[in-house]
Subunit: 436 residues, 2 copies
């Protein structure tokens, strides 16, 4: 089976142009999407539950008459968990345990220090009160995503976790409900789309307002999250999934082909990139791809994704591969080389770094422990995996001693008057100790 | 001088309604603003420097012929610093030193741990490469803001800091340039509005693309930041400044009146709130306000702000004051009480907490050390002061031993097959050690 994959050499004349063209990705909310989302948000804010029921009946082809029909009880969640086949339940519990253990290490603690004059400075770290998790319905409904979004919030100490998941035509994903039970989600509503985001952001009679909304969704969900940003916190707006594999040419080419497939099978826009200094090895991986592709359940999606967005890039040496990686800032990076530790300090931008030939990226998707919600489309330049820190926030703590307030009052006075803010200056000056 | 200020009692029948009405704040970008911003961004992306020069000439009434005229040289920045009056320079340097010292404590370090089978998990923390700071021009141009935005990035280890500041009619703020020199800003462009945000987000021939944009601005800047979010990181979109003072009735009422003024003088939309269980004390503060207001340079702005948005709230006791505070989630909180330490653990939501009678909020604006860029409009429910953590990001680190990959491969295989992702499953299964 022949597969079309873009093959580049880093020293070819038009390399930069070709690379940029292949990397280009922009999720554009057109005017029509924006208009629909704005209308939905306005209606949910104005009419609450009534609007939620209407939109859900219309968009998800449901026949609800009131909001209570769109809530899933804890009993129902537990039932889903208890009905799981034993191997799935054991695996899900093992994953949950590892995810929690890893995220415990991410917890920030409050800190403070005292200066010579008795002034205390510090930062008080607290969890958010209540957060919302958006879980997509249909084919992209992953129980692992429920764990990855809910468990960091639990570890952070969030009191209440609200989950929304659309159930188009009433079709419920049992694994998703089971994962919600396992992760300790407090309430689940069968809502989706912009209406679910609006309900979480502003609250309705039934759906409580949350402090932050996390989780992936389609263009309507992404547009709605952007629109409510500020009223609530949101996580990054996710693009298609990507993997970048740097290989020294010594890993079984079948393994690498399958690692590339594991991104490509997500959807036609997913991106799989392999970089190697070994041209013959790239040929071997192509051979593995051609051999293995016909055996894959999702061969259509995989071949479309490989054709649309995959790249095999030949570089002069591993250093050039690392340089390219920092330019691409991939979501997932596999360092499939003999000595990955030597490369790690040089990696400046990547969502997650999978080191060594044994560390398949798919282990990270489920049960390695670190989060699988990662910055996509080059946003690893400025953002991080979802973590406990996304559900904690900080308050500055300042307690001046009388002496400290007096000394600093003089400094503040000069600067405030320089900015023509005299109330600021006088407020500080009141605390200056008068010499007798 | 009589001042109109809303006075409420927490036990009055319509308290919730009145409080919510007074707190309500929403920055709305109307369709016209959105359209202008979208056009500006599109033009800057398409035509780069040429569009920047055109917009700057049009909106800021400049006569530039090329981009180089819109860059401020390092020599010019140093000249501004060296021309400062000595007291201002000394004060600015003292502030910078304290801000840096405090923010050093915020630095996150990389961490890792090794499991029994040799598997290594951790997180690698790295600074962003290049960030952009938006500094407003005109009356709201504060040198302290330059320090507060630039120094945390410096401490984080950001390599390059780009600052944009509009200079309408060519008017330059010497203090702002001096602060840029002191903070180690690398390049300064005299650009403002949506065009400056677009240039930083996408880059032009002259302005380098940054990884994150921070700093406050008008509605065009806020709308542009929202639009480019995703292509770059942004900080919170700031609303008007607020202070909430909780006082036991024992602080000099003149001090508290001036503390309230120091927020009110920012602008007519700024919000000052005083909560006390002591009704007579509230009367005393009103008397102080009436006495002091005529002596203030910005009395017009202060009285408009007090009339529009201020509240004096009488509560049953300090516990009720704390409860109200957590509901309001103020940007600045003063605990002007005898034992502020006793209240601190009960404060769940606040940007910065100023403890004790000596700790005037205005000290925090300039030189206490903590950042003065704080979450406004109740966003302290889910966000934090600007900090070093805003300029660092994290990469998950995963290195499985052969044994670990084999064990976890079994778990991943079950879960991946549960999600019908067979490439994920097979990629993990390749790493399972075969029994002989």
């Amino acid at each position: 089976m022949s597969v079309e994959i873009t093959r580049l050499k880093a020293d070819q004349a038009d390399f930069d142009k070709q690379l940029n063209a292949m990397l280009a990705w922009e999720s554009v909310s057109d005017k029509q999407v924006n208009q629909i989302v704005d209308d939905v948000i306005e209606q949910v804010r104005a009419r609450g539950d009534a609007a939620l029921v209407e939109y859900t009946n219309r968009f998800d082809r449901m026949q609800a008459t009131q909001m209570s029909e769109l809530e899933v009880s804890q009993t129902r969640l537990l039932q889903a968990l208890q009905s799981l086949p034993l191997d799935q339940r054991t695996a899900l519990e093992a994953a949950a345990q590892r995810i929690s253990a890893y995220h415990e290490r991410q917890k920030s603690e409050s800190w403070r220090y005292t200066e010579a004059d008795g002034t205390v400075l510090g930062q008080q770290v607290t969890p958010m009160d209540r957060i919302g998790i958006y879980v997509p319905g249909g084919k992209a409904a992953y129980p692992s995503s429920v764990l990855m979004n809910a468990l960091p919030a639990k570890v952070a100490g969030v009191q209440e976790i609200i989950m929304v998941v659309p159930t188009p035509d009433g079709v419920v994903n049992e694994l998703v409900l089971a994962a919600a039970a396992l992760a300790g989600v407090d309430r689940v509503f069968t809502l989706g789309g912009a209406q679910a985001v609006a309900a979480l952001a502003y609250g309705t009679e039934t759906v409580p307002r949350v402090d932050k909304i996390v989780g992936p969704g389609n263009i309507f969900v992404a547009t709605a999250k952007r629109a409510v940003f500020g009223a609530v916190g949101i996580d990054m707006i996710a693009g298609p999934s990507e993997i970048l594999v740097i290989c020294d040419g010594q890993t079984d080419p079948d393994w690498i082909a399958m690692d590339l497939f594991s991104q490509a099978e997500h959807d036609e826009d997913a991106q799989s990139i392999l970089i190697s200094p070994d041209a013959c090895y790239l040929d071997q991986v192509v051979a593995s791809i051609e051999k293995l592709l016909p055996t894959m359940e999702r061969s259509d999606i995989i071949s479309a994704s490989l054709k649309n967005r995959a790249m095999l890039i030949e570089v002069a040496d591993i250093d050039e591969a690392v340089k390219l990686c920092n330019r691409i800032a991939p979501e997932h990076l596999e360092l499939s080389v003999a000595d990955p530790e030597a490369l790690l300090p040089k990696i400046r931008h990547a969502g997650a770094i999978f080191m060594g030939r044994y560390t398949a990226e798919s282990l990270g998707d489920y049960c390695a422990g670190p989060n699988h919600v990662l910055p996509t489309s080059g946003t690893a330049r400025f953002s991080s995996p979802l973590g406990v820190y996304d559900f904690q926030k900080r308050s500055s703590v300042i307690m001046f001693s009388a002496e400290g307030a007096s000394e600093m009052g003089k400094v503040a006075s000069v600067l405030a008057r320089g900015e023509s803010l005299t109330a600021h200056a006088r407020s500080a000056e009141y605390r200056i100790i008068k010499d007798n």
